[in-house]
């Protein structure tokens, strides 16, 4: 296990380097960044001077080396549009994405597992069919459409939820961090929290739909498979009640593959956040990245992509390690 862990962690190095190269190329392959930076009235001399200043005339490998060195110092450059450091822009936005993703994850895990269990325990019942049809729809609907439909039903028609945004305008929140929900929860600002939750519901549901569906299907098939296995039969033969068999013996083992899916879904949710945040004007990294692309603000695009990829890589690492740890049947040489 220790060996595996070390090997697995070491493997991060080439992956992270590769990621940084890829991200670097997103910026480096632009035809001429100076035109965008200097605006349309730049003189040829100004362009040449800026190219020199940015080191765009150096060989690409030298440029990459410089980029990695800067990254190592935590310097992501400055946004071409707002001129503030990319790290500052991202720091202001990332907490929003984290809260949205965590909320969606929690929703997906709870609803997905519960629905999956019910479905498996009552195979071929109405509940089972409903769950499975819902799950099929869940994996087939585009997030952004689901988002639009939620908006048109709950915000436009019924008017029970706000259309978009994070918080009603002009509310004096007194919040100091960007982790609005966590902070409101811990400091007991209930009115603010309630407003935050109202804004969170639709984005979280839209983002969670796909993962919920997948987790439900996974839990169901995994449960069904485990139930057929010998040790479960033995447990039944011992005369244990069905409940004990299901929840004590079957569930524990059935959830092992589900854990992996959950981990992987975290990565998916980060990607899905790009679309969800755009639909709901959620001020996170996803909508930041989309806006940055629309503004050709490449340092900002690079920063967002790098951050999400790095987070994704570390989540995958964690998933692999957890998986190796909880599933004794797997041996990694």
């Amino acid at each position: 296990m220790l060996n595996y862990t070390i090997r697995r962690v070491l493997m991060l190095v080439p992956v992270l380097l590769g990621v940084s190269l890829g991200v670097f190329l997103v910026g480096a392959l632009q035809a001429d960044p100076t035109r965008i930076m200097l605006g349309q009235h730049a003189t040829a001399e100004a362009v040449a001077a800026l190219r020199e200043e940015l080191g765009l005339n150096d060989p690409i490998l030298v440029q990459y080396g410089r980029y990695v060195l800067r990254l190592a110092q935590g310097d992501l450059g400055r946004s071409w549009l707002t001129h503030s450091p990319v790290s500052v822009e991202i720091k202001a936005r990332f907490p929003h994405t984290v809260e949205l993703t965590l909320a969606a994850m929690a929703l997906a895990v709870v609803v997905g597992i519960v629905a999956g269990i019910i479905s498996a325990v009552r195979q071929y019942s109405v509940a089972d069919y409903t769950t499975m049809v819902g799950a099929l729809l869940g994996v087939s609907m585009p997030i952004f459409w689901l988002g639009l439909m939620l908006i048109s039903v709950f915000a436009v028609e019924l008017r029970v939820l706000p259309v978009s945004g994070r918080l009603a305008a002009g509310v004096e929140t007194g919040l100091r961090s960007e982790f609005y929900i966590l902070e409101a929860l811990f400091t007991g600002k209930w009115a603010v929290l309630w407003d935050l939750i109202k804004h969170l519901i639709m984005p979280a549901v839209a983002l969670a739909a796909y993962s919920t569906a997948l987790i439900a299907r996974m839990t169901r098939s995994s449960m069904l498979e485990v139930v057929r296995q010998d040790y479960v039969r033995t447990a039944r033969a011992k005369g244990l009640s069905e409940r004990v068999v299901i929840y004590k013996h079957a569930l524990k083992n059935a959830l092992i593959p589900v854990v992996t899916v959950i981990g992987l879904q975290t990565g998916y949710l980060l990607g899905g956040a790009v679309l969800t945040e755009t639909v709901f004007s959620w001020p996170g990294v996803g909508s930041l990245a989309v806006a940055a692309i629309q503004n050709s603000d490449y340092p900002l695009v690079q920063g967002c992509v790098l951050l999400v990829a790095a987070v994704f890589v570390f989540i995958n690492l964690a998933v692999d390690l957890v998986y190796a740890w909880i599933d004794p049947r797997i041996h990694y040489a």
Partner: protein, 313 residues
């Protein structure tokens, strides 16, 4: 979207979405009969009603796409300002958009775009992925190492984000969207093929072929590829549905086809402006995407079951 069947970085050949992926891999070893068993598969598939209905749904899409000019009641780009933003009625079953264009006709023509993106981007991914995977699995050694590390790196980005980044480099447009989606899904194919080849390579009949002096290429194309068709077919089916979803997402973000071409994702993106005044504009293109993806998913799941020899007849 595409992250569905992704495997964690840095686990060469490891299938992590345990059950589904294990089944994918499981297909390889046991269907050594290759395509001859197609009949059995078809027989199983015929009994799988959900899968069949999925297939039919998909055929409807193909039909719409192929015969769009004859089916669509109006030309998709015919503007008619005085008739703009009419809710669904007899002349316009899905209403009209802000230019007075018939939404139904645009949804029908949109099927062409989706199908085109689905087929071509999956084609790109298939060719590159099978080639890289085969090379990796068959040659092994440092070639394998390099290719697989490259795949790991690509898998380190959430799919949609990688696609967007590639679009940021290539610029918006349909062709670029197809390329981006194709590239993003290459690792999925490469891994399946590599894993399958590794497990087949040592089988007797491959050894035998090698012994009688068959060339490397011949061994790959004659003996190995036919035997890994099953997982690839399943992946291709599901991959097409993912590609269609991703294309719609790119269109929604304004990175896909350029106006005035009718494309479902772009239609949805524009419908946002009319969510209060003409909500039907957002309804129909979304339904079309969902139906298409649903059809392919049902069919793909059915195929997987049909191709899985472990399931009882």
């Amino acid at each position: 979207m595409g992250a569905r069947r992704r495997v964690p970085a840095g686990k060469p050949g490891g299938e992590s979405e345990a059950v589904l992926a294990a089944r994918d891999a499981g297909l390889t070893q046991k269907t050594t009969g290759g395509l001859e068993s197609l009949r059995i598969v078809w027989r199983r598939l015929k009994r799988h009603r959900l899968a069949l209905s999925g297939f039919v749904l998909f055929l409807v899409l193909v039909f719409l796409a192929l015969f769009a000019p004859w089916i669509a009641p109006y030309p998709p780009n015919q503007t008619d300002f005085p008739r703009s933003l009419k809710p669904p009625c007899r002349e316009h079953l899905m209403g009209t958009d802000e230019f007075g264009r018939d939404v139904l006709s645009r949804v029908i023509y949109g099927a062409r775009m989706s199908l085109q993106v689905g087929v071509i981007s999956v084609g790109i991914a298939l060719v590159l992925g099978v080639f890289l995977g085969a090379l990796s699995g068959y040659v092994g050694g440092w070639v394998d190492n390099i290719i697989m590390r490259l795949m790991d790196i690509m898998l380190a980005f959430p799919a949609i984000l990688l696609a967007i980044s590639i679009m940021a480099v290539l610029g918006p447009g349909l062709t670029n969207a197809m390329i981006a989606i194709g590239i993003v899904t290459v690792p999925q194919y490469a891994r399946i093929v590599r894993g399958s080849i590794l497990s087949i390579k040592e089988h007797e009949y491959v050894e035998a072929a090698r012994a009688i002096g068959c060339s490397q290429g011949k061994i790959i194309f004659r003996h190995i590829l036919p035997n890994i068709m099953a997982p690839i077919i399943v992946r291709t089916t599901l991959g097409t549905s993912e590609a269609i979803l991703e294309a719609a997402a790119l269109g929604f973000l304004g990175l896909g086809v350029q106006p005035p071409t009718a494309e479902w994702g772009a239609m949805l993106s524009r419908a946002q402006r009319y969510i209060y005044t003409a909500p039907y504009l957002a309804t129909f293109p979304g339904l079309a995407i969902t139906a298409t993806v649903l059809g392919l998913n049902l069919f793909g799941d059915g195929l997987r079951d049909a191709l899985d020899p472990r399931l009882k007849e």
